[in-house]
Symmetry: C3
Subunit: 281 residues, 3 copies
């Protein structure tokens, strides 16, 4: 059963986000950096990208939230992530991390582990394979795509418990676990998998929401519901991945708290509809 | 009162640009680099991106104009900018600089100042906050967005006088000042602020125009009028930031000297309509 | 005379590509990296970008094909290309190289030559000027655009013979030469020249096809025919370069073996229609 209370909280967070316009500092890959900046702007926040270790900490000192994405990692960038992360930690600002392709190369695996150990992260979002690998429960990632993945409810719960953070594994159903329990989000559409970077964009949107959310578990679910909902709405006016991507930005920009309140499909994990009953797009 | 003479000059410069196809060398940030290349191509010039210090000077030796943008600065890139800039200076080719986020970190502030001191720049374009900071007259930049800005007519005039260059602060009204006086441009549309990189793109378009303009003051105004006009035209066929951006490229490509002559709103600063009377989109 | 047999082979390769979903490892420029990743995904393969020398070889050990593009070269990236290339060579996986802007700077020329000498390449694709320069037969490249080019049938044949690889020069007509003969492809549309990165995207699509093709000569022609065909189909729904680019992704995603079988225009070089008779868009 989807929770109207959670849908209403998501709607309220969207309104608050638009009102406060948090500054979101991204240190991210060079493949989807433009999409990540634009998704941040259209949801209602202010993006800033400052990837050099020479300025990352200084920029983090101005930002309301920090988003770290290891999609094209290199040494200086990982250094910048740690420096910015420590600054965000000192200032009590949330940090969201996307472990793109973790498990496929040592650089990515070590990079993700370094961030987990040296910085206090608020949220980690990946696909089911990535979260499985991070949780030490297996999973296979091919390039940056999840191929084999253990049960996402279990892996997110394990990672959340081990690391004391919010873990989110996105897919047909998004699983989100925190120390205090779990949520699922059933918004989204298969077309999202035809566009490069929708995972990175989802992480960015979570970054925007946790900047204004009291509870990062709810903030993460709200961000994923809004992003998935924009995907659902974009399908109607698309005729393929190119126009779908254009529509995704249009629809996220046009998203209102009213739409979110009516169409967000967020449930407490214990009460979530089973796969067969779920209204999964 | 808008000047028909200036609108006609802008139209003529667009025709000349399409005829000559200048080679525009960009050393730019990795967030909007694709947009900057595409905007250069659709206005009618040839873009080339060569960001490494190992080739920047050599590439600058072939180019008709150089565009420097510090949106994601790092040490080697700043070195490349100076090397390319010195080559352009020796060859008498114009240089346009975009001080993205100046004032927010030491790396950006020092980088912008280094370019101002070591290279003879032709045009500097930023938002009002960035130009205020560069002129030493205050202003606040949040991430890369202008939050508080002193009077742009004053800051551009000050920067132009201090540095002996053309200074342009873009916003609802664009202010352009040179040693010989000032112009304003009232083309544009608020939707431009919903797309990341429209500032960078405006700077790129200025780079294309000053490559073929006798007077860089007029070239800058012409570029900003054409870019803003494409934005105005793109609104009609857009349903949000995604489709607006697509339309921006379509409309700039389709822009004709006739449209520019009819719709460019450029005025001598002393004769410009006041804010209330101005036909500002 | 176009060959129905070759068109049918192209159709079959597209079906096989969609079935096998090869993992394509790109080490590419930062201007068109997002387009390259998306074009790989929409044609039916899985893209992964891993540009650091610290992980390039390791990622290449998982990939079915490697695509190297020197559009924004720097030292570490060239190192990564060699390391990944040697791994692909050891594993018997195909490598496609795009010598963007070769001949314009020493870094690009030396980089392309280093790849040619240290790695066994399967296919090299460039514009006619680039292929002319690589073949040592002249040609002029302005930025990254072919300005003066010797006869592409001759230069591709020369490069293919000298280096023992497939050489492809794309333009109004695409010329493809291998040790065993030559092919031409007449699919495509002039609008492709209005979008930055269509050359890079064509190279990426070739990379996808040679991953599943028995004969890389046919694989290269098949990739170019499919990409050009998507361009032809995208024109109908476009009103400029912005919407054309969107349509290019939509149409390539929607391309079916049936359409390819009916509309691919591939000919054996010896039997190719002359320029006047050719059905060149």
């Amino acid at each position: 059963m989807y929770s109207q209370h959670l849908a209403d909280q998501a709607a309220e967070l969207l309104a608050r986000l638009r009102d406060r316009r948090p500054l979101v500092h991204h240190i991210t890959n060079n493949v989807t950096v433009n999409d990540v900046a634009n998704i941040t702007l259209v949801i209602g926040a202010l993006p800033v990208m400052a990837p050099s270790s020479q300025e990352a900490a200084e920029m983090a000192a101005h930002a309301d939230t920090l988003v770290l994405n290891i999609g094209t990692p290199h040494a200086d960038q990982l250094e910048a992530m740690v420096l910015a992360g420590l600054t965000a930690n000192r200032r009590g600002k949330p940090i969201v991390m996307d472990p793109v392709g973790v498990g496929t190369t040592r650089l990515r695996t070590d990079g993700a582990k370094r961030l987990l150990s040296q910085v206090r992260l608020t949220v980690v979002r990946g696909n089911a394979g990535e979260i499985g690998r991070l949780a030490g429960l297996g999973g296979e990632v091919r390039g940056v795509e999840s191929i084999v993945a253990p049960d996402a409810a279990g892996t997110t719960a394990q990672l959340a418990k081990d690391m004391g953070l919010i873990a989110a594994a996105t897919g047909k159903r998004d699983h989100i676990s925190g120390p205090g329990g779990g949520l699922v989000v059933d918004n989204g559409h298969p077309m999202l998998a035809t566009v490069v970077g929708t995972g990175c964009m989802a992480t960015a949107v979570i970054g925007c929401f946790v900047a204004v959310a009291g509870d990062p578990l709810v903030g993460t679910a709200a961000g994923l519901a809004c992003f998935g909902l924009a995907g659902e709405l974009a399908v109607a006016e698309s005729s393929g991945p190119g126009s779908f991507k254009v529509g995704l930005f249009d629809r996220l920009y046009a998203l209102t708290p009213e739409i979110v309140s009516h169409r967000a499909r967020i449930a407490y994990a214990a009460e979530a509809p089973s796969g067969d009953e779920a209204d999964v797009a």
